[in-house]
């Protein structure tokens, strides 16, 4: 459940789970090293991400035109395009397609939009089996969990935990211990599913407006199975995923795979432009594309917040985030964890529901340094925090939250006054050097910090005093 209290609780229990912290620390350090190894030339990286940023910014700049161009080219090629403003509408569209084709079973490639929609759950309620075919997604689906990372969904589990799960829930007759054995079992089980499936569902990494082409990036081949073998393919895509030209794709593909997993390229890059044509022997006869808004057009209306939509979902921001690495993906209780989630979720679900996520950052900026499309994540975080406080100002005085909000605002106002006035500032510094160390540990607010950390000791002299004694002056 999405709430400040739940987040604090989950964070606390994650921090006290050495197994989980070990799993994440190992995985994230590995991913950081791999990424570093494929960007040996800093200048090349900066040049490439400048191009990646431009390609994405250009697409957002022309978004309504490009979406119409994409729609018209897809339709010309035989791909049927549908639009959904909300996740409920998108789910309904998938259901109607499934019913139209009398589908009972669906196999899925990895798609974050389908996670946004909670599509599996929805389809199961309507008696349709939706099976994840990406190994990581499959592992957590069998174990009734949610992804903890957008690229490596089962990263929170170690090999022993997965082996237990395979033994109990997938293949009880053997106890597979190695990753090789478990992979072999999954291959066998999932091939049967691909063979039988009525519909394949996939996401979209890039959609090319000028040709009406849907691009998919993957290593396992499950994405190719889902988009080639079943008679129907349904592609789910956020409206921001469009790019103008085919030529925009190579730099973005390079940035995506290198930033995500440190690979020069993934095993498969799959470009789909039409359903099966006359004379062709395989490929789906029907291809549907569902364009989902879910708050994106709202983000698009603001110059700064729009930059959230530049994202190509590589996950580098979470791999490098000191907060994410320590608490893991589940603590956030959201589809998108880590830095990108902290700016995306409050905008999708509303600041009143998810605004607290914007506070869960030290603003260290590690995410901004590695972002392959230059999303100003820290600036957006600050903007959301600011907006959240402003919204609080609008809470009616009779509301029980009003007092807390008022107190918060008062503290910030006081802080602002002191820091804008040299006399007050000097008085405050003097006060802290003389009396600061007498502040009791148990003081409200302060004890949130001191209950788990040693109390900081204030210096006897402040920086200005020290500088003066050294004979330094401002001039």
């Amino acid at each position: 459940m999405l709430s400040t209290e739940q987040f604090k609780k989950d964070t606390f229990s994650a921090l006290n789970n050495p197994q989980l912290r070990g799993n994440f620390k190992r995985a994230m350090s590995g991913l950081m090293q791999k990424r570093l190894a494929v960007f040996p030339d800093d200048q090349e990286f900066h040049q490439l991400r400048e191009i990646g940023h431009s390609a994405r910014a250009n697409a957002l700049h022309k978004l309504p035109e490009l979406l119409q161009q994409l729609e018209s080219n897809c339709s010309k090629n035989g791909i049927q395009v549908y639009w959904a403003e909300t996740v409920d509408q998108a789910n309904q569209l998938v259901l109607e397609i499934a019913q139209r084709h009398n589908a009972k079973s669906i196999v899925k490639g990895k798609s974050m939009v389908s996670e946004e929609m909670e599509l599996n759950h929805f389809l199961e309620q309507h008696g349709i089996e939706a099976l994840e075919a990406d190994l990581g997604e499959y592992i957590i689906q069998v174990d009734h969990e949610l992804p903890s990372h957008i690229i490596m969904p089962a990263i929170h589990k170690n090999k022993e935990q997965i082996a237990q799960m395979f033994h109990q829930k997938v293949e009880p007759s053997v106890f597979a211990e190695s990753a090789e054995e478990m992979t072999a079992i999954a291959r066998k089980v999932l091939r049967r599913k691909f063979y039988q499936a009525d519909i394949g569902v996939s996401g979209v990494n890039f959609a090319v407006a000028e040709t009406g082409t849907l691009c998919l990036v993957e290593n396992e081949g499950n994405g190719r199975f889902c988009t080639t073998l079943p008679p129907v393919h349904v592609a789910l895509m956020g409206i921001e995923k469009v790019v103008e030209h085919l030529e925009d794709v190579p730099p973005l593909l390079s940035l995506l795979t290198r930033s995500a997993t440190g690979q020069a390229i993934t095993t498969y890059f799959n470009m789909i432009t039409s359903p099966r044509k006359d004379g062709e022997k395989d490929g789906p006869q029907n291809v549907y594309l569902i364009l989902l808004d879910n708050g994106r057009s709202q983000m698009h209306s603001d110059q700064l917040l729009r930059e959230t939509l530049l994202c190509i979902r590589c996950g580098a921001c979470m791999n490098h985030c000191p907060v994410y690495t320590r608490i893991g993906g589940h603590a956030y209780s959201t589809t998108y964890p880590g830095p990108i989630g902290k700016i995306l979720t409050p905008q999708m679900k509303g600041l009143h529901k998810a605004g607290f996520l914007a506070d869960a950052s030290s603003l260290c900026g590690a995410c901004v340094e590695v972002c392959p499309v230059k999303i100003p994540i820290t600036e957006i975080l600050l903007r959301l925090r600011h907006q959240k406080e402003e919204d609080k100002g609008n809470i009616p005085l009779t509301s029980p939250k009003a007092w807390k909000a008022g107190a918060g605002n008062l503290v910030w106002k006081g802080w602002k006054t002191v820091f804008a006035n040299p006399e007050l500032y000097r008085l405050k510094s003097l006060g802290i050097t003389k009396l600061g160390n007498f502040t009791p540990r148990w003081m409200p607010v302060l004890r949130n910090w001191t209950s788990v950390r040693s109390t900081p000791v204030f210096a006897k002299k402040n920086l200005h005093q020290l500088a003066r004694e050294e004979g330094l002056s401002y001039e």
Binding site: P64, L93, I139, I162, A179, M182, E220, A264, S301
Partner: protein, 228 residues
């Protein structure tokens, strides 16, 4: 499906309104003209072959450098060594002729050649049971060690995915330096095929504790014969 038209209208209206409201973005988005991001990456014919080979070998691909007249012998020994009894091929490709000739010459050594001649609805069992498939390629990419495939009615999409072994024949003269160079030289944007693929190794996963394992859903082994 009724809601789709209304949603389309609402989404586009919202997006168009913002385009009008926001200040005109003055940044230069014309980044392709004079773009140089891959211009430093142009290699000689020989360098391209070696780079493709080393990139592909790094991800578990068998790469054999062959010459025009004798490559078919290389193929024979690979098939024998891998004990392939049945191999899927496209009967109307140039490749098929060579395979057919060879089959006549040395029928005992060669595995049974099987044509993917019926639509998948009737070929499913065949595809899921066969040992290997051999296909042509449209070209290669040296920078990333990738094969370019545009599947055709004669060599359909699933040939490079379902059988556990995929053997691909690549002409060295068709290796480009970069993906961008390939799509621009061949003017891909003028007409994209039903499906275009870049394949860079056998299928793989690292979803179990980041341990790299080859052969998850797609082929387990990828063999590339580069003909120089």
């Amino acid at each position: 499906m009724n809601s789709s038209a209304a949603s389309r209208n609402n989404i586009l209206t919202r997006l168009q309104q913002t385009t009008g409201v926001l200040q005109k973005d003055s940044r230069n988005f014309n980044f392709h003209e004079g773009s140089s991001f891959d211009e430093g990456k142009r290699w000689s014919a020989e360098e391209k072959v070696l780079r493709l080979k080393s990139m592909m070998e790094a991800v578990h691909t068998e790469v054999h450098l062959c010459v025009e007249n004798t490559w078919i012998k290389n193929l024979c020994s690979i098939l024998e060594q891998k004990q392939i009894n049945k191999i899927l091929y496209g009967a109307k490709t140039g490749l098929a002729q060579e395979l057919g000739n060879l089959k006549q010459e040395s029928s005992e050594m060669m595995p049974e050649l099987i044509d993917y001649k019926d639509p998948i609805e009737e070929s499913k069992d065949l595809l899921f049971e066969i040992d290997a498939a051999i296909t042509t390629t449209r070209g290669g990419i040296a920078e990333t060690g990738s094969l370019i495939l545009w599947p055709t009615p004669d060599e359909p999409r699933l040939m490079s995915l379902v059988p556990p072994v995929h053997i691909a024949v690549l002409y060295a003269s068709e290796i480009y330096s970069t993906f961008r160079e390939a799509m621009i030289s061949e003017n891909w944007s003028s007409e994209m095929p039903t499906n275009a693929l870049l394949i860079s190794g056998p299928s793989k996963t690292a979803d179990i504790e980041q341990t790299l394992v080859y052969g998850i859903h797609g082929c387990k082994e990828l063999v590339v014969l580069v003909i120089q």
